[in-house]
Amino acid sequence: MAASDRPGGLTALSVLNGFFALAVGGTTIQRFMTSYDLMEVAEGEVRGRGWRRRYLKSLLDEGLTPMDLQILALIGLVATLLLLVSIWGLLKRSNLIGRWLGTLGGVALAAFYILNIDWLPETYLRGSGLSIARQIFYPLFLIFMLHVIFRRDFLQAQGKSG
């Protein structure tokens, strides 16, 4: 038995939260950058390589707007921050920071991926469909673990500290 009575699963979840925060953080940066590229193409500024410009133009033609990407990036940023903060809460078994911020992070993460599928055109998502399905699995798993498996641990820790 470890010196701390924190279940090993909570430690594993905090590591996975960190992993997904980095993954969604990277995608968020990509969405922001693409949105600025789209704005430049929409304004007629000719920059970058030809294929990239043609690709961005095809995205605009399919109805994708820079605003869509910025909203997605904003949701991604919120998910990243919530997941990162919840790591500390999970390790401390804090009901508010660990369980509830983790839940909000999971909801933001799920919303980020679902809106990606819903808003982004097929040419943008092509080939990543199942990897998105793979990423939707994690928020559902996180929420299930926090509210079913570890619920009592958070409440007990809260009772001790309160």
């Binding site: 699963g9 092509r126 199942l130 498996i149 570890f150």
Partner: protein, 308 residues
């Protein structure tokens, strides 16, 4: 003496405990992650347009025939001087491997191709992941000596069988979730006429993977009962799973009958769970159950004699 109520209680406690431990969370997460990655691997070339469905079907059919010839120890050619690939292909078209060619066509042409490929890949990778779910089932309690607190209230056999049942149930649920995700995704991606036969074939694949999982879970439990240190149990289970086919296929080069070492684990017959021939499927299921029974008997024998 086995008490059924105790067995169910141990199974239930093991599932809850697995979900609370780091290794259990890693097992669940890795199984789903790796399973969906394999599905992605088989779907992406078609989805990205790297190849047409027809070209992919053609090359997949050859690759599956090749894999089936390896798994059934029939790679040794009639004409050993010819180029190996063309030799195998011509033998699958009109030679002694024609049954394997038909088998590959059954998986690729008669049934949803992408699902078949995904399940075949899972059949290779799942045996390596499944020990992650079972390596702590017995050894963890033995290592920490907490098993002593359980034994006055229950029998060793009930404990062993209960934990085996819990691990097996968890593995089956994960396989079900995995196949469900792949089928839902394929149903969305493919046109409706291509998905008509998806559900019955997915049911058959689920049955095959569950049968395949049973002996490997039992092997994990055997290693967990034999070794006191969980990491050693994990290494032993994964080492045996990886080592058996490597050893068998290398030794087969030296002397053909040594290839039969493959049958020490289900590697030698697990592909037959997806055979078009009902008798072969029945035999493969019987072998799977036999292997599981053998591993569990050895585990029970070892656990009953262990100094805890």
């Amino acid at each position: 003496m086995i008490q059924f109520r105790h067995v169910l209680l141990h199974a239930q406690k093991l599932i809850i405990h697995s979900l609370r431990t780091g290794s259990g969370v890693a097992f669940i997460f890795l199984t789903i992650l790796i399973g969906l990655s394999l599905a992605n691997l088989s779907i992406t070339p078609v989805e990205l347009g790297f190849t047409t469905a027809e070209e992919f079907r053609e090359s997949a059919s050859k690759a599956i025939g090749f894999a089936l010839a390896t798994a059934s120890l029939r790679m040794g050619g009639e004409n050993e001087n010819g180029p190996p690939d063309t030799d195998i292909l011509s033998r699958m078209e009109s030679g002694d491997l024609i049954d394997l060619g038909m088998w590959a066509r059954y998986l690729i042409l008669d049934n949803p191709m992408l699902l078949s490929i995904t399940v075949l890949l899972l059949g290779v990778v799942l045996p390596l992941i499944l020990p992650l779910g079972s390596f702590t089932a017995i050894s963890s309690d033995v290592q920490h000596r907490t098993v002593r607190y359980l034994l006055p209230r229950t029998s060793r056999l009930s404990l062993l069988v209960g934990r085996w049942l819990g691990t097996l149930f968890l593995s089956w649920v994960l396989i079900l979730l995995l196949l469900f995700s792949v089928v839902v995704y394929l149903s969305i991606m493919l046109p409706p006429e291509a998905t008509e036969s998806m559900v019955p074939w997915a049911g058959r694949c689920l049955f095959s993977l569950c049968c395949l999982a049973t002996p490997y879970v039992s092997l994990g439990i055997l290693c967990s009962a034999v070794f006191r240190v969980p990491m050693v149990a994990l290494l032993a289970a994964v080492g045996a799973t990886v080592g058996t086919p490597l050893l068998a296929l290398s030794l087969q080069e030296a002397w053909d009958p040594l290839g039969n070492l493959l049958y020490l684990l289900p590697w030698g017959y697990s592909h037959e769970l997806l055979s078009p021939n009902g008798d072969k499927v029945f035999t493969a299921v019987a072998y799977s159950l036999g292997h599981s029974l053998l591993f569990m008997t050895l585990a029970a024998w070892r656990f009953r004699r262990a100094d805890l």
